[in-house]
């Protein structure tokens, strides 16, 4: 085994016999304080609202609502227009049903 291989093996075995690292004694106090913090329902909602997934969902809902309103508006507008055209044609060619007492537009 040459020198480099020997060093490689020694490096690989350098963790043998190691002890566990001990945390800062104040870490326990810090964790306790964090666990004792109580979260109100509003705080949880605010935290959730801060997440990107929630913002993306809200954006999707807003876009979907916008598209639905636009489509509905377009459909209604075309229906109204169609009706107007029908009335105009009926009026032009006197196709409307005359009222019984409509003296201004007598039947031809």
């Amino acid at each position: 085994m040459n020198d480099i291989e020997k060093r490689v093996e020694e490096t690989l075995n350098s963790l043998d016999g190691m002890r566990r690292a001990e945390a800062n004694p104040f870490l326990y106090t810090r964790i306790q304080a964090r666990l004792q913090q109580s979260r109100s329902g509003l705080e949880r909602l605010i935290l959730m609202a801060g997440k990107p997934a929630f913002a993306f969902l809200v954006l999707l809902i807003v876009l979907a609502t916008n598209i639905m309103v636009m489509l509905k508006g377009t459909a209604e507008a075309s229906a109204v227009k169609q009706e107007q055209i029908q009335f105009a044609v009926a009026d032009e060619y006197h196709l409307d049903v005359p009222a019984l007492y409509d003296y201004e537009n007598p039947e031809p």
Binding site: I4, V8, T11, A21, R30, I31, R34, L35
Partner: protein
């Protein structure tokens, strides 16, 4: 156990403390969901490794973003200085080599890194590691074999370059 495992993954004391805190908060919040299908220590290791690896991924993303934003110093050189990690549990005569090994471990794939840390740092048996990683003993043997093989390759390159 939690702090030691976290420290071996994130390789910075402050980050390890943050991860440890997150682990205990998670345990506190989800203790009722612990079904006792495995040992409590197995469950604790899983949470610790999950939090530690998440932390590492976040750190890598930040580094990539910072690199894109340009961290160049004078003469167009990258000036990111990664400090060497000294695990406090390693004996004095092995500190330098252990520092080199911990640095090499950073480039291992996640699963290999986890298996290596659990075996070498925490001293778990192959059976215990397979319980933590939810896999078979032979899979753990394979992961450790590949981890050591990758580490040998990286260390050989490192020492070759040092020689030149």
């Amino acid at each position: 156990m939690v702090y030691n495992t976290a420290l071996s993954i994130v390789q910075q004391a402050e980050d390890a403390e943050d991860v440890t805190q997150e682990v205990f908060v998670q345990v506190y919040q989800s203790i009722e969901g612990f079904k006792r299908e495995s040992k409590f220590s197995t469950w604790l290791y899983r949470i610790t490794l999950s939090k530690a690896m998440d932390h590492e991924r976040k750190k890598k993303r930040k580094k990539r973003f910072a690199f894109v934003k340009s961290l160049f110093g004078e003469g167009n050189e990258v000036v990111v200085n990664i400090p060497d990690f000294n695990h406090p549990g390693v004996s004095l005569d092995n500190k330098e080599k252990a520092g080199i090994l911990f640095k090499a471990m950073q480039s291992l794939p996640d699963n290999q890194r986890i298996a290596f840390v659990l075996n070498k740092v925490e001293g778990l048996s192959y059976q215990e590691i397979s319980d933590v990683m939810d896999t078979t003993v032979s899979a753990v043997e394979s992961l450790l074999h590949r981890a050591k093989s990758n580490l040998r390759k990286d260390l050989k390159t490192f020492y070759d370059q040092l020689r030149k």
